[in-house]
């Protein structure tokens, strides 16, 4: 029921770039972010909010670590694995990092094929992404069991400051939850793609709004963010 008298949308006409573009966009009517759909805008802003959540978590961990007078356990020893008789530092974490990065790669491609309306490839890549994500969570679980068997608890650990365990379980746990949620939604969206909901524009179950391939990109934004957060956790928790 679009207002047909309007002719075609004018935002395809070149808009100024650079700072003047910023000014022009914010000064324009209807939309501040031109060519950004509601869903995408919403996801970006949600991620901004989520950035503050993880920011505060990491900042709290930093404070705990910097203000305690009890020595902090050395992560690269704690997270070392005994492979072939020799202790390899952080190896599991490194692998997890690679797994998650790979999942980001596959996700990016899924988005790409999505826009080319290639149902099979898109769905397949998303499933692959989900699989990698699941692997990551699995290794996380392994990591937790290892530490727990070594006597690390949220309230104490054999090597030093109690906050080590607390921060570890809290931060990785919270990140892990994000990954898990991501995996679930990946599966849901993949199914819709597979069924071709986004070609027919079938209405969503709750929202009764028409599906579009853009959902794949929005899903992607979330997934890459989860990867992004891990980049920071890797640097600040494991490498510090």
């Amino acid at each position: 029921m679009a207002d047909t008298t309007l002719g075609h949308a004018d935002h395809e006409a070149q808009r100024p770039a650079g700072l003047s573009g910023v000014a022009a966009d914010w000064a324009s009517d209807q939309r501040a972010f031109k060519n950004v759909s509601w869903g995408k805008a919403m996801m970006w802003i949600f991620l901004l909010s989520d950035t503050f959540v993880f920011g505060c978590f990491l900042l709290a961990y930093m404070t705990a670590r910097m203000s305690t007078t009890i020595p902090w356990p050395n992560p690269s020893e704690v997270f070392a694995l005994n492979i072939g008789g020799s202790e390899v530092p952080l190896i599991l974490i490194a692998i997890m990092t690679f797994v998650l990065i790979s999942s980001s790669g596959t996700m990016a491609m899924a988005v790409n094929w999505g826009y080319r309306r290639d149902r099979k490839k898109t769905a397949a890549l998303m499933l692959l992404t989900a699989a990698l994500g699941a692997t990551f969570v699995g290794m996380q679980a392994f990591e937790w069991t290892k530490l727990i068997t070594e006597g690390v608890r949220p309230w104490e650990n054999p090597w030093g400051a109690a906050q080590f365990g607390s921060s570890f379980f809290m931060i990785t746990g919270f990140h892990g939850t994000h990954v898990t949620i991501g995996v679930i939604f990946l599966l849901i969206v993949a199914r819709k793609v597979w069924r071709g909901d986004y070609d027919t524009g079938a209405p969503g179950f709750f929202t009764s709004r028409r599906g579009q391939y853009e959902s794949v990109e929005i899903m992607g934004l979330y997934w890459h963010f989860v990867d992004l957060v891990w980049v920071f956790i890797f640097a600040f928790f494991y490498l510090w």
Binding site: P71, W159, G160, A162
Partner: protein
């Protein structure tokens, strides 16, 4: 019209209340008269602003109330006026901030000759520790608290042995001698607050905070707790007695040092926190 009248009444009433009401701060007993003066400056500036703003408002309401056929003046904005007002306000703010920051820098820089006094808070009582002959306070730790070491003084620290321990009694201070008050809490947040001294500071478990002041007149002053610390908060009282030099020394004689208190008590090793043994050293 009632509203215009009420607005005027509010201004007049508030000013009169401020001037006539018997409720004002307690006579000061420390060197922090500066704080009071800053407060007075602030009162003058803000008072003037409040009066001006509200009276002008009352005038507008009265003068420009709706009359038949009247029409409002159309004036979107006036950059000039707005800039002026901004500037004036900035000046007003600066006039309050400048002295404030100046006094604050004094507040946080403790004079060299200040003697240290430790105040230890716990639900819901005050205890004190004086440095003793060597003028140094020994280290302390909540972990060491025990019936015969109520303040958790470190028995292995030589500085601590001659510390004077005043448990759950009144604190005495010599008049006109600057003191650095070290604040320590054994359980939750408290706040060592003596209205006559103006200065106050929270005491935070797990760290030590401080403020300094010089008592300027002798007398007995009430200590209150000014940080919610549980159901006993309101009843957590104590007293500081500011004495003349002689009275102070006589009082000091009667106090017992940490060594005397814990004389029989064995000087045991500190309890290590759970499992810090391995990598601690």
């Amino acid at each position: 019209m009632a509203i215009a009248l009420v607005l005027v009444l509010i201004v007049v009433g508030s000013v009169l209340f401020h001037v006539l009401s018997p409720w004002w701060w307690t006579p000061i007993a420390s060197n922090w008269g500066y704080i009071d003066s800053t407060l007075v400056i602030t009162f003058w500036i803000t008072g003037a602003v409040f009066t001006a703003v509200v009276l002008f408002m009352a005038y507008c309401v009265y003068r420009f109330r709706h009359k038949e056929g009247a029409r409002a003046h159309y004036e979107p904005e006036s950059r000039k006026l707005e800039s002026w007002l901004t500037a004036i306000t900035a000046v007003g703010v600066a006039a309050m901030l400048a002295p404030g920051l100046f006094v604050w820098s004094q507040f946080i820089s403790v004079p060299k000759d200040a003697t240290e006094v430790e105040v230890v808070a716990q639900q819901w009582q005050w205890s004190y520790r004086l440095p003793g002959a060597d003028g140094k306070l020994g280290t302390s730790n909540a972990r060491l608290v025990s019936p015969d070491n109520p303040l958790g003084v470190n028995p292995e620290d030589p500085n601590g042995q001659d510390d004077v321990v005043v448990e759950a009694a009144d604190l005495h201070l010599p008049v006109d001698k600057p003191v650095k008050v070290l604040l320590r809490s054994l359980d939750v947040l408290h706040d060592f607050y003596v209205p006559e001294f103006r200065a106050k500071m929270d005491m935070v478990p797990g760290t030590v905070t401080y403020f300094w002041f010089t008592p300027t007149r002798t007398g007995t002053f009430e200590v209150l707790c000014a940080e919610l610390c549980g159901v006993g908060h309101a009843f957590m009282r104590g007293a500081v007695l500011v004495d003349t030099e002689q009275d102070y020394t006589t009082w000091l004689q009667q106090q017992s040092t940490f060594a005397q208190l814990s004389a029989p008590a064995k000087v045991g090793a500190l309890a290590e926190p759970a499992g810090t043994a391995a990598k601690a050293e």
